[in-house]
């Protein structure tokens, strides 16, 4: 027998470990330490949620997507349109955004998930691109390329207004992120989550085990779409603005980079990659507005050469050695 009992180890995998408290402690500390940056902070928190949705699709589901912005933008527009039409209460807006995005996820998933490889990647891209064109064109509803202007977002819990300094936005985003994270964490530790990993590793084998691969992927895709939608709604509500670029290719691509930077399929990759990328973007583009892309690009290239699996992957390797 080996030292640790493998059965006990597997049975204990879902238990909370102390380092898992760190991101939340850091987020609360940041609220007090950087009062001048809470608006940026709220966007970072919303983007972490967006990153989690990519992690579910790609890291756990193995579905290669360059079109997650379709769901982010759908959520953003849903919340935005509600707020622009006198239904500005943030919480119902958030829920409606999640549901709308999830519905779109289920619908487009029926098509996208029948494909694989490049065709799948392109199909996700096309879905987002179509929505972006539609948002651009339907200016009577969406404000077109100028964006949706006249949002009137209500108070959180009917008490806290979204102010200039982003205090409300920050705490609101943090609370929503935390709740969604609890759900996501439970999901990836559930038998469903484990079977997603099985399908990512070897879908043919999962089928031979009797698992309904397509249906489970569709469910995962739908849930992830809902999460992306909620994240888009957080953006819309905290900035009071939505434009077609919320459905754009950059929105899909950058989040992928952020997640890969942190480490994919590890649940916490987004908590590392997203703040790193967004803070670096904020700082570097202050120092050197034109060329910050060069440094982040160089960082990515070096990472593939020397730190595969992202920062968490590197950390795991160092710990093993």
């Amino acid at each position: 027998m080996i030292a640790a009992d493998p059965v006990a180890a597997l049975a204990a995998r879902h238990r909370w470990r102390w380092p898992e408290a760190l991101p939340w402690l850091a987020a609360v500390a940041a609220f007090f330490l950087f009062p001048g940056y809470l608006a940026l902070g709220a966007q970072i928190l919303a983007s972490i949620l967006y990153g989690l949705s990519i992690d579910l699709v790609l890291g756990y589901g193995g579905i290669v997507t360059l079109g997650q912005a379709a769901f982010f933008g759908t959520g953003a527009y849903t919340a935005g349109l509600l707020a622009a039409h006198g239904m500005g209460a943030p919480e119902p807006g958030l829920i409606a955004a999640g549901l709308a995005a999830a519905a779109l996820g289920a619908l487009s998933g029926l098509a996208v998930l029948r494909l694989s490889g490049l065709a799948q990647l392109m199909a996700t891209l096309m879905v987002a691109a179509m929505l972006q064109s539609a948002a651009d064109k339907a200016s009577a509803i969406t404000g077109g390329a100028d964006g949706l202007q006249n949002m009137a977002v209500g108070k959180v819990l009917g008490l806290f207004a979204f102010g200039l300094y982003g205090r409300t936005a920050y705490l609101y985003a943090l609370a929503v992120l935390f709740l969604c994270f609890l759900g996501m964490r439970a999901l990836v530790h559930s038998p469903f989550g484990r079977s997603l990993v099985g399908m990512r590793e070897n879908a043919a084998r999962m089928t031979a085990l009797g698992a309904p691969v397509f249906a489970r992927r569709l469910i995962a895709y739908t849930i992830a779409a809902g999460m992306a939608g909620i994240s888009g709604a957080l953006y819309a509500q905290s900035t009071g603005f939505v434009a077609p670029d919320s459905l754009g290719f950059d929105r899909s691509g950058n989040i992928l980079v952020m997640l890969l930077l942190g480490g994919i399929g590890r649940l916490y990759g987004a908590f590392i990659g997203v703040p790193l990328f967004m803070v670096a973007q904020d700082r570097l583009s202050d120092l050197d507005p034109a060329y910050w892309y060069f440094w982040i690009g160089l960082g990515l290239v070096l990472m593939v050469r020397f730190a595969r699996g992202g920062i968490l992957g590197l950390a795991a390797r160092i710990r093993r050695e």
């Binding site: 790609l58 290669v64 098509a111 029948r114 494909l115 694989s116 490049l118 065709a119 990647l121 392109m122 199909a123 891209l125 096309m126 879905v127 691109a129 179509m130 064109s133 539609a134 064109k137 290719f249 950059d250 691509g253 992928l256 980079v257 890969l260 930077l261 994919i264 034109a290 060329y291 910050w292 892309y293 060069f294 982040i296 690009g297 160089l298 960082g299 990515l300 290239v301 990472m303 593939v304 050469r305 595969r308």
Partner: protein, 290 residues
């Protein structure tokens, strides 16, 4: 009736010129994907630098169009060969996500570099005097440069296909796409084959970028702006295929021109829908490789 005919001719003409550019740029992408299994999201950067080389060498060094074009192709092909050795080689058959990350990294670097070197504005492209102006065919006038694009594009495509059909290199390339392990077993040096194909693909992209600088204006945003078009041509045509992307380029070039002609505002929506439909219908492309 006359109007409809006139519209059809315009669409066919401009669509064809656009298709040639799309194909020249995308064919290398198809090869890297089919042969090396690498999703090269940075492929558009080769075309962009081809475009910069042509416009800058003409404007600053006073080179004639032809010389600038050839110099651009050679420079970019050489750059491609170096990158293949140093970076791409490690990605072959590897993790898709590593490929995405590394090639996006290259895209970021290239757009910052282009911005540093050439500013943010679109490059000004003047066709050489011999190709400026318009020509009149059957009582209609067509821009001379676009006519030249169609003809030279067709000639290049014919040359490429003949070359790949008739040469030893072409035979090896086809064998390796069909069955890489078999190719290796019969003594094909796949390492060299990959390097040469990659350089060739980059060179063709530079050629497309340079020739097409009038249709797809050269700016630092180029590698991102048109990436989706290039990927679409490859995915719809069939990754790894040489001829499939040509079919796809024609289809997309002409239908894009047509949609934008009739419905300038909502054309792109229908193009994307068409692409999605084609992908669903033929997931491995119109002409699947192997």
């Amino acid at each position: 009736m006359h109007q409809a005919l006139s519209a059809a001719i315009s669409i066919g003409f401009f669509g064809l010129a656009y298709a040639m550019v799309l194909y020249l740029i995308s064919v290398g992408l198809s090869v890297t994907l089919g042969l090396m299994g690498v999703v090269n999201l940075a492929h558009g950067a080769f075309a962009m630098f081809g475009g910069y080389a042509v416009t800058e060498l003409m404007a600053r060094a006073g080179l004639p169009f032809w010389a600038a074009l050839i110099a651009g192709v050679v420079l970019v092909a050489a750059g491609g060969a170096v990158l293949e050795r140093v970076l791409y080689r490690r990605l072959y058959g590897g993790d898709e996500l590593d490929q995405v990350l590394l090639t996006i990294g290259l895209v970021f670097m290239s757009l910052a570099a282009a911005r540093f070197g050439f500013g943010t504005l679109d490059q000004v492209f003047h066709p050489p005097p011999a190709l400026a102006g318009t020509i009149t065919i059957a009582g209609r006038s067509f821009p001379t440069y676009r006519s030249f694009l169609i003809l030279s594009g067709a000639a290049l495509v014919a040359l490429l296909w003949l070359g790949l059909d008739r040469t030893r290199f072409g035979a090896m390339l086809r064998a390796a796409v069909d069955n890489p392990r078999m190719a290796e077993a019969v003594g094909i040096d796949t390492g060299r084959l990959f390097a040469v194909s990659f350089a060739l693909g980059s060179g063709l992209a530079a050629l497309g970028g340079g020739l097409g600088a009038e249709i797809l204006p050269i700016s630092p945003a180029y590698p991102v702006q048109y990436l989706v078009d290039f990927l679409t041509v490859v995915a719809v045509g069939g990754a790894g295929s040489i001829r499939g992307p040509f079919l796809a380029a024609l289809l997309l070039g002409i239908s894009q021109t047509a949609f934008l002609y009739f419905w300038p505002a909502s054309g792109s929506f229908f193009i994307d829908a068409l692409t999605l439909g084609l992908l669903m219908w033929r997931p491995r492309g119109l002409v699947p490789a192997a």
